[in-house]
Structure formats: C-alpha cells, structure tokens
C-alpha cells in the first residue's frame, strides 16, 4: 500500500505543477496583453513618452519574469517575445508608431497563442 501512496503523491505533485503553470502563464499572458493594448492606445494618440514608459515597463516585467517562464515554456518562444518587447521599446523611443503597432500585434499574437496552448481544451489535448 505504501507504493499506492507514493503514486498518489506523485500524481498530486504533477497536478500542482500543472495548476501552477496554468495559473501563472494564463494570468500573466492576460496582463501582458492588457499592457500592450494600453501601450497601443498611447502611441495611437501620439503620446510618445507615455508609450515609451509603457514599453519600458513591459520589457522590464518580462525580463524579471523570464526565469520562471523558461521553466514552463520553450525558450525560443520566450526569446521571440523578448525580442518583440525590446523592439517595441526602441520604436517608442524613435516615435515609429506604425512599426510599434505592428510589433505589438505580433507580440500579442505570440502571447495569446502560448496562453491558448495552456488551456485544457479538446483541440489542445488531441
């Protein structure tokens, strides 16, 4: 029976890890998309300095959290998003609104794709 308990503990650890990953990734993905929308809004209204600081906040937050993201996700996905956020910051500094919006859309698409893959749906399971 001891082995039965070991098996149940292993299943519990796996479920806890899965739950932590799901909550961490989905909640942060939503927050990033919201921040990107906010930055888009600012650059659309030609608020360059505000957009620049929004892009800076995004980039800093992502760099801080990248360690934990790397535990849960493919590192190449993280690199793509990291590059997009660095580009956003640069476009905001140069006031290139069109490039900013395009890169932001690309980053949002990547983040949402990662988020969607973590959701327990039939299409993801199969």
């Amino acid at each position: 029976m001891k082995r039965g308990w070991i098996a149940l503990i292993m299943i519990a650890i796996s479920l806890v890890l899965g739950g932590i990953e799901y909550l961490y990734v989905t909640s942060n993905a939503d927050a990033y998309v919201k921040m990107l929308d906010d930055a888009d809004e600012k650059i659309s209204h030609n608020l360059i300095y505000e957009a620049e600081s929004a892009a800076e906040r995004l980039d800093n937050r992502f760099r801080k959290q990248s360690g934990i993201f790397n535990i849960f996700m493919y590192h190449s996905e993280m690199e793509h998003i990291s590059c997009d956020l660095a580009m956003l910051r640069r476009y905001a500094q140069t006031g290139a609104a069109a490039d900013f919006l395009a890169t932001s859309a690309c980053a949002k698409r990547e983040i949402l794709a990662i988020r969607d893959r973590k959701i327990l749906k039939w299409e993801n399971i199969f």
Binding site: R3, I6, H75
Partner: protein, 172 residues
C-alpha cells in the same frame, strides 16, 4: 553544455527513482504494458537532453505521471483478477496431455513449428512428454510434466479456469 550536464544528472536521478518505484524486473520478465511504459519513459527522458530549449519540467511531469499510473495499475492488478486478465492477459494452454491444441495456436497466431522450437529450447523433443504447455502472459512457454505437477495438482485459479475452458471446447 553545462545545462545539459546538470539536466543529465537530474534525468538520471528521476528515471532511476521511477524505475525503482515501479519494481524490479528483468526485461525478459516484463509484461507487454511494462515494456511499453519503459520505452515511453526512456523516450520522454531523452527529449530535454536532445533539446536544451525544452523545459525539463515538460519531461519530468510525464515521467512522474507514467510511473504513478503504472504503480496504481499494478496495485489494481494485484487486487482484482479481472483487471489483471484485462491488462496483462491470461495464461493460454497450448498443449494438454501431450497434444497440441490447434484452436489455441490459431488464437495466438503461432505455428506448430514455433511450439516445437520453444520445446527444443527447454530440451524437450517430443510434445507427448508434456502434460501441460502454457503460454504465459509475458509470452514465455511454461512446461509442466506429470512429475513436476506434484500431488496437489495445479494451484493457480487462473490456470484451472483456463484448463476448464479448454476441456469444454474439446467436449463441445
């Protein structure tokens, strides 16, 4: 490279622990399901070593889950004969009282020549020397002669039921 080195050590520890928890068996004694699980674990364990981009957790969690499910299934098989029969199969009598049972051979898709070959491996040249020839769930052939059955007869309930089934089929 250092990452891969550390990962290798971690994977080694986890896989060894998983195999240790699942129990001690030689490859030749494994049930089909155990062999498949061992192959899956080895495949999953190799993925983060081949690809450093892949998170280690993506392999560790499946290994833990597979080992845990295997443990639970083995406990279930210990408790329930029906579950054991469903998952591992049951012994099939192919020789009875020195005669091969063709219907059972067809069921197992093995020829008489294959059986002769298995008998030769056990240093038996003539099927008539065999009281019972049984294909075990792990695919090996067990031979029972009149001498090694003993006075108490066959103890295994599973095998007794199988022999009764063969008797019924023969009489029908």
């Amino acid at each position: 490279m250092l990452t891969i080195l550390v990962r290798t050590v971690l994977i080694y520890i986890i896989v060894t622990a998983a195999v240790r928890i699942m129990g001690k068996r030689q490859v030749s004694d494994m049930q089909t399901s155990e062999l498949v699980i061992t192959l899956i674990i080895s495949e999953v364990a190799s993925l983060p070593l081949e690809n450093a981009e892949r998170p280690l957790l993506n392999s560790l969690v499946p290994i833990m889950m597979i080992a845990a499910i295997e443990l639970l299934v083995s406990l279930l098989m210990m408790k329930s004969r029906r579950a054991r029969s469903l998952i591992c199969g049951h012994p099939i009598v192919i020789i009875r009282n020195g005669k091969m049972i063709d219907s059972q051979l067809r069921l197992l898709r093995i020829s008489r020549e294959d059986v002769y070959s298995l008998l030769r491996e056990q240093e038996i040249s003539d099927e008539s020397d065999v009281q019972y020839g049984i294909i075990e769930p792990n695919g090996t052939l067990s031979i029972l002669t009149a001498e090694n059955i003993g006075s108490n007869g066959i103890q295994s309930q599973e095998l007794k039921e199988e022999l009764e089934k063969v008797d019924k089929e023969e009489n029908a």
